[in-house]
């Protein structure tokens, strides 16, 4: 589990924890379809269970997402990774890192955990084949000492999956 990278464990700002409390409440009344969030005592790290959508390559499979929030969330993006074993997907590395622009360059403070989850499920659902990214081995080797995917300089080349 080299991938469960150590997030910068700075305590959440007041704005961040207020906003996360709002998100928890909203999630509890209106959770996104296909996701289960087991509420634990840590507001700063959410473990979310994803179930593959019916009629897709991942139907019925379940995976776990780990969401870590930075001190200045939502001005800064959360770190979102799959806890290995990660789903086989052309944009998901075996260490759980996800190549998805909204998690990095295209993050917006108007996005929420819920909206990110829906984007990830959408990405899974549109997969044409269960395969790893072509550069999987090289990339995983490079982040061996638990590097955060937020430090990766991603190249978002595929707007179809």
């Amino acid at each position: 589990m080299t991938s469960s990278s150590v997030p910068s464990r700075k305590v959440l700002s007041k704005i961040a924890s207020n906003r996360l409390q709002k998100e928890v409440m909203e999630w509890q009344t209106n959770p996104p379809a296909g996701f289960k969030y087991k509420v634990n005592d840590s507001l700063q790290r959410w473990i979310i269970e994803v179930t593959g959508a019916p009629g897709t390559l991942y139907t019925g499979e379940t995976y776990q997402l780990q969401v870590d929030f930075p001190e200045h969330y939502p001005m800064e993006a959360p770190q979102v990774i799959f806890i290995p074993p990660a789903p086989l997907h052309p944009h998901i590395y075996s260490n759980g890192h996800i190549c998805l622009d909204i998690l990095y360059d295209s993050w917006s403070p108007a996005m929420t955990v819920s909206s990110v989850c829906i984007s990830i499920l959408s990405m899974l659902s549109s997969s044409p084949a269960k395969e790893r990214p072509a550069d999987n081995d090289r990339y995983v080797r490079n982040c061996r000492n638990g590097r955060s995917p937020k430090e990766t300089r991603w190249w978002f080349h595929d707007d179809k999956v």
């Binding site: 704005i15 207020n18 709002k22 998100e23 001005m75 295209s106 917006s108 403070p109 108007a110």
Partner: protein, 208 residues
């Protein structure tokens, strides 16, 4: 309070005829009920109220004895202050008493002892050994429509000091400031923004 919804206010006013004279005719079984509110004190035609036990217009000789009448209005001095409504008085008198020889009716506070009773002015309440009139239940007015509240997409709270970007998206002032500092684009539509690309909004109240 919407009167038509109230079951217990039964108006005995005979509306519709131009005279607007009110006749209170208690049914024997039920306690008579006079809706005092329904009687318009200021109506000039309302000078005479006849309290009689039935529709037969029998000489009201018994009425005053059988049913005590309380005059709430001390404006009894009809003869002192004759009004245009004197005609109405005449008619009533002739109907009730059949006594035509006295066209001008003099009303005095002691009229209760005469063969008929004319009650000048309006407010008449019959007191009977019955429970008091049921008080109409107050229907609470519907609550005023709620003011719409909008939440900020960044803090998810109600907007404080709402501001609009040049692209028209609305956030709290502190939220959009911090957001533009973090990245120079609109949180909602990603349009390029700089630190002056928003302005305060002063939302109006709603109108009902």
């Amino acid at each position: 309070m919407p009167r038509e919804n109230s079951n217990c206010s039964r108006s005995t006013a005979s509306s519709g005829n131009g005279r607007g004279r009110r006749r209170v005719q208690p049914v024997e079984v039920e306690p008579p009920f006079i809706d005092v509110d329904a009687i318009d004190v200021d109506d000039d035609d309302d000078d005479v109220i006849i309290v009689s036990p039935s529709r037969t217009r029998a000489p009201a000789s018994n009425v005053s004895r059988r049913r005590p009448v309380v005059l709430l209005d001390d404006d009894v001095v009809e003869e002192v202050n004759p009004r245009p409504s004197g005609v109405a008085i005449e008619e009533e008198v002739s109907i009730v008493s059949g006594n035509n020889h006295n066209k001008r009716v003099r009303i005095s506070p002691s009229a209760g002892g005469s063969a008929y009773q004319l009650v000048p002015r309006t407010k008449v309440i019959e007191i009977q050994p019955e429970p008091p009139q049921p008080v109409p239940v107050e229907v609470p007015p519907p609550p005023p429509p709620k003011e719409p509240t909008f939440s900020c997409p960044i803090c998810l709270n109600q907007l404080t000091e709402p501001c609009s970007t040049t692209c028209g998206h609305v956030f709290c002032q502190s939220c959009i400031k911090a957001s533009i500092q973090a990245q120079k684009k609109c949180p909602t539509c990603r349009k390029k923004l700089n630190k002056n690309s928003f302005h305060r909004l002063y939302l109006p109240n709603t109108v009902n």
